[in-house]
Amino acid sequence: MSALPEFENHGKQEIKYSTCYMCACRCGIKVTVEDNKVRYIQGNRHHPINKGVLCAKGNAGIMKQQSPARLHQPMRRKPGTERGAGEFEPISWDEALDTLSERLQKIRETDPRKLAFFTGRDQMQALTGLWATQFGTYNWAAHGGFCSVNMAAGGLYTTGFAFWEFGDPDWDRTKYHVLWGVAEDHASNPIKIGLEKLKRNGGKFVAINPVRTGYQAIADEWVGLKPGTDGLFALSMLHVLLKNSQFDWDFLVRYTNATQLVVQTPGQQGDGLILRDDNGNPLVWELEKEDFVDGSQVDIKPALFGEYTAPDGRPVKTVMTLLAERYLSDEYSPENTAEITGVPAEQTERLALEMAHVAFKESIELDIEWTDSWGRKHDKVIGRPVSMHAMRGISAHSNGFQTCRAIHFLQIMLGSVDCPGGHLSKPPYPKHVPPGIKPAKECAPNTPLKSPPLGFPTAPEDLVIDGDGNPLRIDKAFSWDAPISNHGLMHMVVTNAVNGDPYPIDTLIFFMANMSWNSTMNTAEVMDMLRAKDDNGEYKIPYLVVSDAFNSEMVSFADLVLPDTTYLERYDTISMLDRPISEPAAAADSIRHPILEPDRDVRPWQEVMVELASRLKFPAFTRDDGSRKFEDYKDFIINYEKEPGIGFLSGYRGKDGQSHLRGEPNPKQWEAYIENQGFFMYHLAPNQQFYRYANQDYLELAKHAGWVGKTDPITIELYSETQQRFKLAGQGLYDGPQPTKQEHKDRLTQFFDPLPIWHKPLEQTRIDEDEYPFYAINQRPMFMYHSWDSQNAWLRQICAQNYLYMNRQKAESMGIEDLSWVWLESHNGKIRVQVKLIEGCEPNTVWTWNAIGKQKGAWGLKDDANESQKGFLMNHLISELLPKKGDPVDSITNSDPVTGQAAWYDLKVKITPAGPEEEGSWPQFDKVTATPGMSESPDQLRYHAHKPVHLNRDIRDVLTRGSLDKDKN
């Protein structure tokens, strides 16, 4: 072999490990640095999330660091200029922090809820939530309300864990995987790694999605159903399972509330609630004793089916009886659901039975000894190797909560919950159903909230409403509009604040939230609202603070801009108190630490929050003598304890760094994480890895680690009493707060149900569906998912213009040509877009890539960039309120009536060809101007960490080599 030159000067290079932040997936990265420049970012092969691989976004981190859109210094809106004009003047950090803390101080002293603090694509809700709690405002939430609250809530109110961050398919053992409504994302690398494992193991992959791109490309079977009908499809499969008696009887009896008895007294208080003894324990019918007994006991033989008369004379039925009665009904037969879902009856039936076959005829048995919650030892775990994953396509519909529950019902019927080959939970989950935290209901001057702003209501008493039933939160979360809005309704904040409904606010802080563009519904009008002034000429949102690292569309609306760092320039935690990086068999959390020195006058938002908290003397950040408790964010992370021994980071605790999960603060904790490649992993013993809802060894560990409050077994709730309580409130049969307005009563009675229902997405019930015949949905491409990255010079080369994709045959039947421009119109407005015809799209559906379209000039893009000239946002067509019909419902959020999840997949549209002269995307907006310090975006890029070392061919070889054919073979 000819000698090779030394291509890399390893002596000059340094390897650092951190956590990626190009999306929300939180992969481990190994970064090679040379002269404060990144040579190479690769996946960390020891990291639990990505195991060495890295996606397109992660590989483009260099270009994020190079972005010309990076903000350079704190700025304020130039006095005398209009908000939104983007005219800023640089100020010092001292001035910025003085101005802000002074203002916040006043708010906190008077009416803390006048501060609304909402965060977008961040991963530090433990800190931002703590900050809001300490400030004393319940007007805080992150972006979950328009992202995935339906998935979280659907799971946490059913199995105690959920999809993605709280649970994962058992990719190593599953033999059959059903993917529901997952575009190209959520999660990124773990799903790709998992799907490959499944396929390598000979498993079957079924994809349920109106669009066949992304993961659906490699599906063994594609179910291209109509958007928003997944719930009915799931319940139809449930029908098939019941019809064929295919359900896990033992599992239902042991771990779920299927045997519990439900009171059947329609029209009376208490109807539909679980029959309980005087101690509140649920009663079941004991088959041997032929009597009612406390159903929380073990070694009893409860009836799964049956109707009985309670000792007090009320008729009762088992949960399973109610469930079977409902879903055996012809309404759910595959033949009858086919027209709505678009899935042929044969396919629905076959898929349900295939799952049953794999679950019950190809079960797995692992010889693992484990102890159940009642101290009984078992010598094996049984696996039902059918797994599922679901995300945005389920979540972003107004029936998403119910649909998510319906999907969990399939898992429960198959017994594939936290068992080998099934859907596994990830520490700190599962939690008790639902988790025990209630949302804060009161704000008082200079006083922290009594509980976090967000929580899990189980009854109308838990709502955050005043005595008259009016919402107390600015986003109207936990009100009759959306009682179980566990993640808040970020998408309603601007509208409500501008309308002063329920009240005006003073200051709005957005962190990493592009609320004037792709992270809002009804974009054009929201932009106007952000600029709106009252009769006195004052802005309706008096003070708007934006923290972001880049010149996003939102920045230009700020009164104060606090520039953040990039992910390679700061300390950060992916905390066990928030959404850690755990895997099913290991609890894990991780950090970021500075890889590069910032070359701008920017500060991480974490530091700013700790600084503000200290200045404002939040109790948790202040010593008894009034001095600040934490020097900075690093110090805060080391020393803050939520409860004794529990902090943001769970690893390497204790003075010696040897206590994990719980332990005293360790002053060298950061160093320990850095030394351990930026993460900590606590491996669960085999006997702690399954059936964790009733696994003694696991639950004891979970209690020790602060993941659960008690070691009681977690009962999987097929029947949701929470749902029934709200339904009763709607019916006027609840002994507690009840809605007064008819529209609220209607919503509670129609959309709350203790057993999953399917209903038409709300928008579709308030428009003329003949006029708007097409479903319109968004997805993110894999190389852009959650990456907010049109400023990324490499990623935008892959796609800088989104098209409206539609089914080729359908388009041809309408005379719509490939690449022609069309008008797309909804009840809320119209946009002009370019069409691309494809095969893999359900004929009644059109779709596009979300967040490719950009406002001119934003993100450091030039005026002629494809993103602004040809790309578009579907958001303009989506209203944050329900379609107007002239009734009181007009002012209700366009969201899931249960959880407040933004229903941005409910959209329906019509399509008409654009005129011959009509080209380019519409609407267009004023240009976003560059902010001070930003340099002109270059016309050419030639990024390199060092001069290339060329490999030269020997000149003798050039002159003497003959043809390859002779050379070779």
Binding site: I218, K243, A793, A865, N866, H944, L951, R953
Partner: protein, 231 residues
């Protein structure tokens, strides 16, 4: 040795990770930098060695989406090398990697014309042809841990759809995969004998349902008789 890649079309989800990893490694690699034109303007483009193309096979509703990553195939009969007038393009006898000597190329594009797979891209700024080097600047670097001495695209692939190895070694993973999965070549009729090989989508096993079908379907709750199952 005959080094090359195996690409699994059964698991490639078309995420472009390999393409960007390639761009990232190679822009600071032996043939870097890889110029980008109008990176923030209209019609951004640049020099890439690996591009992912997406196709649809069959008509709706019998359609399947297929993602095909393509880079240099390091052909046995590499006409790009044969036609090169300067000798800048060559195929290394020791491992079969096709390379362009950046200091000898005159930028005539002729090699790109001879390549059926679109593997070569001219860097207009440097005036020379650039292409996949199979990460020759990684795979022999003893300073890297052994498991990282692979092309950047292979290391990064989240769907484990890319494999690197010696096709001359019958026991290598790539040879085994090609054998077991019936590896296919693109445009074999042209006779280039590309080394890179594609694995076609797998055919799923049929899953029986007869054994879970009830003889008589349940029509009402009353059809079930309670079992004595202890909680």
């Amino acid at each position: 040795m005959r080094l090359g890649l195996v690409i699994d079309m059964d698991t490639c989800v078309g995420c472009h990770a390999c393409a960007v990893a390639c761009k990232q490694w190679n822009t600071s690699g032996t043939t870097g930098p890889l110029t980008d034109y109008q990176p923030y303007g209209e019609d951004p483009s640049g020099v890439w060695f690996n591009r992912i193309r997406h196709y649809e096979v069959g008509d709706y509703p019998n359609n399947k989406t297929v993602n095909i990553p393509m880079s240099c195939m390091h052909c046995d009969h590499a006409d790009c090398v044969t036609v090169c007038p300067t000798g800048a393009s060559y195929k290394r006898p020791e491992d079969g990697i096709v390379l362009v000597d950046q200091d000898k190329c005159m930028g005539c594009n002729y090699c790109a014309w001879a390549c059926p797979y679109g593997a070569r891209e001219l860097d207009r700024e440097d005036g020379v042809m650039k292409k996949c080097t199979l990460c020759v600047d990684r795979i022999y670097d003893d300073a890297l841990p052994p498991e990282e001495r692979q092309p950047a695209c292979v290391i990064t692939c989240p769907a484990h759809a890319r494999f690197f190895g010696d096709f001359d070694d019958e026991e290598s993973e790539v040879s085994r995969l090609v054998r077991e999965r019936g590896g296919v070549k693109q445009m074999p009729e042209l006779g280039y004998k590309p080394v890179n090989t594609y694995l076609p989508p797998r055919v799923t096993r049929p899953i029986p349902t007869d054994d879970v079908r009830a003889n008589t379907l349940v029509s009402s709750v009353k059809d079930w008789v309670n079992k004595m199952v202890a909680r």
